[in-house]
Symmetry: C2
Subunit: 376 residues, 2 copies
């Protein structure tokens, strides 16, 4: 074998994640590894929890990072909350809503879908109609920010409706956390999961989650065992729950260094302030949208339902998708995202997430796209 050390170039990451990572977060990542039961590490985990409570705007005691990517965070919510035979209303307006349905079925739940248009927000009235027809539903699940289409749904309204029908709410905030307004407690979200590599601008591989007291009660009242040992929150809670900095029961070895990085990236978000971060994403999105309009590139999502941090646009007629993305990557070390699911080959997804949401990235992206399109 002829293999040498890997030396990646510095890319500008404007796809659907991972996003650009600040030098300080990368530096935190490479600090000396210590034991996962070391008192200093246990104390740092408590700080991560406090910082996540701030980011999620929640007082939930069970707020932590799952030791795996966002899709494991999604599975953590469904596998712990939903028991076989229970009915879950799943709103689908893109790839990740469809994945929620898959998760419900794999735990033996019954998924009732609210099928929305791809590229649009979830319709509150459609959800309410479905709830009227299924008064025995125990859960409502939806994606706050659909990474596959760039659509933002009104989580506050959807949860309020779900609560009128006595449902527990499960929300995908993988792409929304840190990028747009999100208030877990005020909005009555019971279970939520996110990813480290989107608007938090941490390395990929961790999934922040939070469970409300109602969700915890539901988990504790299960009559069946959680089918996943690794994701079983009744075990993991014992590992994360202790706040005293004292004894913590062993479940699995935490990804120590990735948690250093998450700690640092959450600290940056805390210091910037959530409202400021949301405004920054909105501002950079406006600048990008103007630049794209000047190039004649059209958005998939209507303006009022657009995610500032994930701009899904139609590939202009006659333009070679792969050729343009390769050109941007090879000439300018600039990554933008391909379309996913129904939009594969038809759309680009331009991310402005976390540390990537800055004016120099917007300028580079517009200038590079202009050059790429002129070349055809």
């Amino acid at each position: 074998m002829s293999i040498s050390s890997f030396n990646p170039p510095r890319r500008t990451l404007m796809g659907p994640g991972p996003s650009d990572i600040s030098p300080q977060v990368l530096q935190a990542l490479s600090k000396p590894t210590i034991g996962h039961l070391d008192p200093l590490f246990v104390n740092m985990m408590d700080e991560v929890k406090s910082l996540l409570q701030y980011a999620f705007q929640t007082k939930n005691e069970i707020t932590m990072a799952v030791s795996a990517p966002g899709s494991a965070g999604m599975e953590t919510c469904f596998v712990n909350l939903v028991e076989p035979g229970e009915k879950v209303i799943v709103c689908i307006n893109g790839v990740f809503g469809a994945r929620m349905k898959e998760n419900v079925e794999r735990v033996g739940g019954i998924a009732i879908t609210v099928d929305g248009e791809w590229g649009r927000a979830v319709s509150p009235s459609q959800l309410e109609d479905t709830l009227k027809q299924h008064s025995d539903a125990k859960f409502v699940a939806f994606v706050h920010a659909e990474t596959s289409t760039g659509a933002l749904s009104d989580a506050q309204t959807l949860c309020a409706i779900a609560k009128q029908y006595g449902c527990i709410t499960i929300v995908d905030a993988v792409t929304s956390l840190g990028g747009v307004e999100l208030r877990v407690d005020d909005w009555q979200i019971d279970a939520i999961y996110s990813g480290s590599q989107k608007c938090l601008s941490c390395v990929p591989g961790l999934s922040p989650v939070s469970f409300s007291p109602s969700a915890v009660d539901k988990i504790k009242s299960r009559t069946t065992k959680v089918q996943s040992w690794f994701l079983d929150q009744t075990l993991v809670m014992d590992y994360w729950a202790n706040n005293s900095g004292g004894k913590r029961s062993y479940h699995h070895t935490a990804p120590v260094n990735s948690l250093y990085a998450l700690h640092e990236s959450l600290l940056h978000l805390y210091r910037e302030g959530l409202e400021t971060a949301w405004a920054r994403h909105a501002d950079q999105h406006q600048a990008l949208a103007q630049g794209l309009a000047d190039l004649g590139i059209e958005f998939i999502v209507p303006e009022a339902e657009r995610l500032p941090q994930l701009n899904a646009v139609y590939i202009p007629e006659g333009v070679d998708d792969v050729a343009v993305r390769s050109y941007l990557l090879n000439e300018f070390n600039l990554e933008i995202g391909a379309g996913l699911g129904a939009f594969a080959g038809k759309a680009w997804r331009i991310g402005l997430m976390g540390y990537s949401a800055k004016s120099e990235n917007v300028l580079l992206c517009i200038a590079a796209l202009k050059q790429a399109l002129n070349k055809r």
Copy 2:
């Protein structure tokens, strides 16, 4: 909140993992993040696969790193291979064998246990007796290196017996990979999982796995869906399998930076050579064992069944477990491990894993223990 950047001290890690990590691996970890579908990253993943094939001594096409810790690697094996109602012989001689049983039951399998003494190797004759009584068993599962007790089992013999009875073999190599002889193909191991943070001396959070053609056939012939979406190898294989460096289908966002670190740590193992690494672990173990004997400290495991990389010893009579470990940590930044399961409070586990298996660590550990014991 008053939280500042986390600055861990440099510890010497001689517990049951994580182990010491070389400066080059930490440096690799903090290299610039690139996209998980970037052609350069895809090519690096192919190299990780080749390096893992070397480490496991296998030609298995399906050899990869699960994007989560070793316990998720364990679950990956059981959740993909075992279907509800299928019988699995599980050999238990410590905490991790018991966890295997838990995994079998959570997928709806029937676990038949071979209950061995904690601190001893799994008994081949006891396995054979059990197989004679359960001719309908489809799997034999055991732990090669029991991290909770320090016992090494004879994987080659156990697999040979399992094969005589037509069983698929599932082996836990979390602590063995890179530290003691292990030959997946020669020994007829069908499914194996390990951890990044033991003798590979990479950061915690990844689980190398490998599946033989027989195991892959079993997975492909399933009549039920894998109950975990995140760990479903029929989906993950599509993500890792492509060798051409070309198109790779999206499943989840790979933990990019952790994989940089795994690449670098596997490269170190390849350059050192497996046999040399095994001999180094054996040599350092001899030195440590001599030093412990001089202090009057006794091993739990009989000499012939001892793991060189994990030395489980009885805490001397009258010595305060926690006080000694805290003293080592606070005075010398030296971490040794507590006892686990049946040995909690009764044993210490002293790791000599990967980059930690070096003479300066042995000297420090013996000298520090001597000082700690003299203080009582």
